[in-house]
Amino acid sequence: MEGKELQAYRVGLFRDAARFIKNERIPYFANVVTWKVFDAGHTLDEAMTDFDVMKECVVHFLDNYPCDGLMDTGIRNQFNVTETFGSQGYYYYDKECVGIKDHATCTVDTLMDYIADEDRYVWEKVLPEKYGDEWYQKSKETWKKTFKAYMDYTMFIVKMGSLTGKTYGIPSLAPNNPMSGTISFAVEEMVANLLGIKQMSLAMRRNPEKLDEFIKAWDDKKIQPVIEKIKNGKGPNYKYCFDASVIMLSHNIMSPSQFERFYWPHLEELLKAYEEKDMNIRIFTEGSILRFADYFKDFKKGTLTFHIENDDPYEFREKLPNIAIMGGMTTAMMANATPDECVKYAEQLCNDLGKEGGFILSEGKMVSYRNDAKAENVKAVAEFMRDYRH
């Protein structure tokens, strides 16, 4: 099997696992990001600024570590664009990691200005503030070169999607179209981009009404159209492993009452829309989600798949037997155990959690740093999962 046929087969594996349908194979989704750069013998600064090097790192990974899905196909490397433009919004640390300087886009008082006209707000306020006076010195020539760098990056993404799909049969996890795929809730946007963790924490106590107002406006503009489209749509799209992928991170700073007020109503409405159409949604629950387990316990078995990070998979299965698990393999184990120990644990997880569907093996944390995993462990687990049959 190869190419489109292999992609379709793998989509079937993910869908069966998500729906608790028994399948002779349990899929392995490699949550491996920049680790593959080091494993291929390169440094981060090389890979992040040279498309050929990044492609080599992705190909090296897929040639050596069989997997059914891959978190990152080498597309976290847009730095040529920002370097051409003249940005210093990031730095490399000893070539082993890259840090991007956080930049809160708004204050709690300007959130409504932002949502009223996002494009104008970003163009006239955010970008000039970020770049300072040099924003107004960027010549047409600089812009042309930057646009070319951006087009090169876009073409690289397309090329990598085609390579990983056609050559390696890796399916797309979920659609990226904002109208039907990756969805961001207001609270996530506020924590990640608009306010930051600190401002959000202060605002939840000091200005809850302002947050309510913004969340409603965001929901009306961004989430309701998605819900409408789901309701009027045909249901599952089997081109993808999941019909949507959502990242939940901001719940990790919320108390129960804050989650109830700012997050749950909008999240619930969207999840119910998918449930009614028998669609499958994957939620990457960064940190821990089990504090809020009660909210998810009544969803129809097979609708939700949680990619868990810090939660113990056995405790998760006990508390939420209706939700498929993606995860289970820890970077602690991948980094410190022997290959035999890793394989034994992977087998145990498959037997205990996946015999009747409901389990996809993956690493909880994104495997990013050099010492997050030993190559022999990744290889042993990947090969085990490729060959393992019930």
Binding site: D94, C97, R205, S255, P256, R291, N310, S368, R370
Partner: protein, 211 residues
């Protein structure tokens, strides 16, 4: 006249308006009750810590509490004799985010809670190299070190820092905290303790200070 009980409860409830109004009144009346007001705020932070342990409050509330405590000390500082303590010798300790890690929110929460519990915290900031930690421990005769990190690479940096302290022959206790930290990480790094919550850090450091 200060109502310490009411101030303590207001701090525990994270009622910013009541806390600040009370402290402004203390200063308006000459500041003679500043020390008592600070003590009430510190007890209020204990309530915050307890409510966090019980699940009523979470990280966002701790961040807010840290800010409120910092603002409270700022209001009272001119009237506090000899610093922010009650006149007793404070235990000096060191806190930082380890090398190659820039995260500081957790560190700052812990710092606010440690200071509220009477520690004199030397905060070296973020991305702190092992040598800097060794230098600061030597120069300040520090016996308690708290290392923070969020990235998985922080475990390596914590290990290097602890090894550097041992190689320098420094007798100090080390506690590690942050997202990637666990019992296993404690063993790998050679730390004396690990913290799954800010309150655990405070309780452990208190215990060590009394030894």
């Amino acid at each position: 006249m200060l109502d310490s009980e009411k101030l303590m409860e207001a701090m525990g409830d994270l009622d910013e308006d009541t806390v600040k109004e009370t402290l402004d009144n203390v200063m308006a009346e000459g500041g003679s009750e500043a020390q008592a007001a600070l003590a009430a705020c510190q007890k209020g932070m204990d309530i915050v810590g307890k409510r966090f342990e019980e699940g009523e409050y979470f990280v966002g509330d701790l961040i807010y509490a840290g800010e409120l405590m910092t603002d409270s000390v700022e209001i009272l500082k001119d009237a506090l004799a000899g610093g922010t303590g009650d006149g007793q010798q404070k235990t000096k300790m060191l806190l930082c985010t380890v090398q190659a890690d820039l995260h500081d929110i957790g560190k700052n929460i812990v710092k606010a809670m440690l200071e509220a519990n009477g520690f004199d915290v030397l905060d070296l900031g973020i991305d702190v190299a092992p040598e800097k930690v060794v230098e600061a421990v030597k120069a300040n005769n520090i016996k308690i070190v708290a290392l923070s990190g969020v990235l998985t690479l922080a475990i390596d940096s914590m290990k290097k820092t602890i090894e550097a302290l041992k190689a320098a022959g420094l007798d100090c206790k080390v506690i590690i905290g942050g997202a990637p930290v666990s019992e296993e990480a404690m063993k790998i790094t050679g730390a004396d303790e690990w913290a799954y919550s800010p309150q655990k850090t405070v309780d452990t450091c208190r215990k060590w200070a009394e030894e």
